[in-house]
């Protein structure tokens, strides 16, 4: 219901998005003016196309690509830890601002663990991590109804290698636009 439908009308825009996904601007400050909330002003004529505004990097504002490219969709956790580091809090503060700008967006926060724990405990740990992120976003003003959580434990690593580097990448939460 809350789901925002983004239709990119011009093929060129989609192309632009593809070209610039690697361009991680990291300039969330500047995005405020450009992004706006996805204004869909119907044009004149029969088939009134919906128009989405673009965030920096040429991605549709309020989209997953926007979140990944301009804000950062994930935060990382220490070994066996659910506490939010300063870096994690900074990312989540940017996510909270971004969610304020994109009011229609509803998100799911997934919690993940590395492979060095047992399956069921890691499911519980992933749930704690996702909830810690949700609670922080809510404390920053996000409406509870706009965020869901899910735990995948150690079932969905981003890095399948078995070493410290991979494990630190896998101990994470990921924010996904529904």
């Amino acid at each position: 219901m809350h789901r925002k439908i983004l239709v990119t009308v011009i093929a060129g825009l989609a192309l632009g998005a593809c070209e610039t996904t690697s361009d991680n601007a990291g300039s969330a400050q500047g995005s405020g003016s450009a992004a706006g909330s996805g204004s869909s002003s119907g044009g004149s004529g029969g088939s009134s196309p919906q128009v989405s505004s673009l965030a920096p990097g040429g991605v549709p504002a309020g989209s997953q690509e926007d979140l990944v490219t301009n804000i950062g969709d994930r935060v990382f956790f220490g070994l066996d830890s659910v506490s939010l580091s300063a870096e994690a809090r900074a990312t989540l503060e940017k996510q909270a601002q971004w969610l304020r700008r994109n009011q229609g967006v509803v998100i799911t926060v997934s919690g993940h663990a590395d492979e060095r724990g047992t399956r069921e405990y890691n499911l519980a740990l992933g749930d704690r991590r996702a909830t810690a992120v949700r609670d922080y976003l809510v404390a920053l003003g996000l409406d509870q109804n706009r965020v869901k959580t899910v735990s995948f434990g150690k079932e969905r690593p981003v890095d399948a290698r078995s070493n410290q580097d991979a494990w630190s990448k896998n101990r994470r939460s990921v924010t996904t636009v529904n």
Partner: protein, 445 residues
């Protein structure tokens, strides 16, 4: 006799019209166990046993007789308690065995036990299998059984025979006529496809129960082995389900706001114990299946998970980090009197109560290694039985003498293994794909 009929009804769906009937042949013999393997001690010297092909009265029966003998031999060999004597050494011809074994010729090749069987296709098309287990040195029959069944049941007949031999020699219930449910894995780790799969304990009759479209984890049998409780991410929501093996139907156990996970049946089969996550905290709950009423057993701001009932249903062992790191606790089945029982170095997880009640199996993580171990319910007598980069999720054979678990080497694929309670006789359980989360079917009733 009644047992077997019941078992078959519980066990094999297509066999409703094909009940193997087991009958004692030639009355009962006084059981003075001269031939005995003590499986409770450490390293065991396997018992030399001779197992010629079963004698068949025609070509079809001969084929079945050979196949049945091969399955019996494989069961006995895998148990680590028997050494099959090379058939090339056999002196007495199979055809004359039916009359009576010539014991001196079996003693001569150091066979201590001898299995003599016959298969016959009856005029009604039924398969009749008879077998006798002989104590070669005493010249005495230890077991004699006859079964009548449809010939397609020949594998079950073989497992029943292996169970009878195991029981007569060890004094323990056999575990060969059992099944295993597990999670079959395929695809890259980042997008792993996981399916429930079921097979006989020797890997035969393998089939998939779910399609792989949804992530599934941690299957466990009901006490009747007709149902499996497990975790499924249907619609992106991780919840506890019950899967009916006969009908293929699955049903979510309740609709709770948070994740439900780590389910196990109670020994009566009337309840499912599980974890439920609420606002980031996982506690243990039990659901009464007839009424669907849910009771809370723990209420602690730590992670409480992996609950498992004692076989008498009066206690629950579980995993909690309430002491700062994962340890094993035992409480009453109403949640009272929680007591920590694990005190060694490292983290302890996935406790599972033995069907005999005497031990609790667990996963232990210490100094970068994973171990499968056992301890007594009061926490004493810890013994580690298997180790690896990742070993996890022990499950008990129904007689409480063997553990199955999975092992994943660094950078490798998970596979199923079994190991005796003595820590010896570790074996890989072969599966068509990578496999994890095994659950052994429960004790037969």
């Amino acid at each position: 006799m009644r047992n077997i009929k019941q078992d078959v009804r519980f066990w094999v769906i297509p066999l409703l019209f094909a009940v193997p009937v087991l009958a004692m042949v030639m009355g009962s013999y006084p059981a003075r166990a001269e031939l005995k393997v003590d499986i409770t001690s450490g390293k065991i010297e396997p018992l030399p046993i001779a197992l010629p092909d079963f004698f068949g009265n025609d070509a079809q029966a001969q084929t079945l007789g050979r196949d049945i003998a091969a399955v019996v031999a494989a069961d006995l060999e895998r148990s680590g308690l028997f050494r099959l004597i090379d058939r090339k050494a056999f002196i007495q011809a199979r055809s004359s065995l039916r009359i009576r074994p010539k014991f001196p010729s079996w003693r001569q090749i150091n066979a201590q036990a001898l299995v003599v069987g016959s298969t016959e296709i009856r005029s009604n098309g039924q398969l009749r299998v008879e077998f006798r287990l002989w104590d070669v040195f005493a010249g005495q029959q230890l077991v004699g059984l006859r079964t009548d069944t449809e010939s397609r049941n020949w594998r079950r007949v073989a497992h029943i025979i292996a169970d009878a031999i195991y029981k007569r020699i060890t004094g323990e219930q056999g575990y060969f006529d059992t099944r295993v449910v597990y999670v079959a894995e395929s695809g890259p780790a980042e997008k792993r496809v996981k399916r429930l799969a079921i097979m006989d304990q020797d890997g035969a009759n393998h089939r998939y129960l779910t399609s792989g479209s949804e992530l599934v984890l941690t299957p466990r049998f009901s006490p009747t082995a007709q149902e499996i409780t497990y975790l499924e991410y249907r619609g992106g929501r991780p919840r506890v389900y019950i899967f009916n093996i006969d009908t293929g139907q699955r049903e979510a156990l309740g609709d709770f706001p948070g994740m439900t996970f780590a389910p196990r049946f109670s020994p009566s089969g009337k309840r499912v114990i599980m974890s439920m996550a609420q606002d980031g905290n996982s506690d243990i709950f039990v659901m009464d299946l007839p009424t669907r009423r849910v009771s809370r057993l723990t209420s602690h701001p730590s992670i409480d998970t992996s609950p498992s009932f004692s076989p008498d249903g009066r206690r629950v062992v579980f995993n909690s980090d309430r002491g700062g790191r994962q340890q094993i606790y035992v409480m009453d089945s109403d949640g009272g009197n929680p007591k920590r029982i694990s005190f060694g170095n490292g983290r302890y997880a996935t406790p599972v109560w033995s069907p005999r009640g005497d031990l609790i199996a667990f996963t232990k993580i210490t100094q970068g290694q994973f171990y499968i171990g056992v301890m007594r319910p009061n926490g004493s007598g810890e013994r580690l039985l298997a180790k690896g980069f990742l070993v996890e999720g022990p499950t008990w054979s129904p007689n409480g003498r063997v553990l199955m678990f999975f092992r994943q080497p660094r950078g490798g694929q998970p596979k199923l293994f079994s190991v005796d309670l003595t820590g010896f006789n570790e074996r890989e359980i072969r599966t068509p794909t990578a496999g994890s989360d095994p659950a052994w079917s429960p004790p037969k009733r």
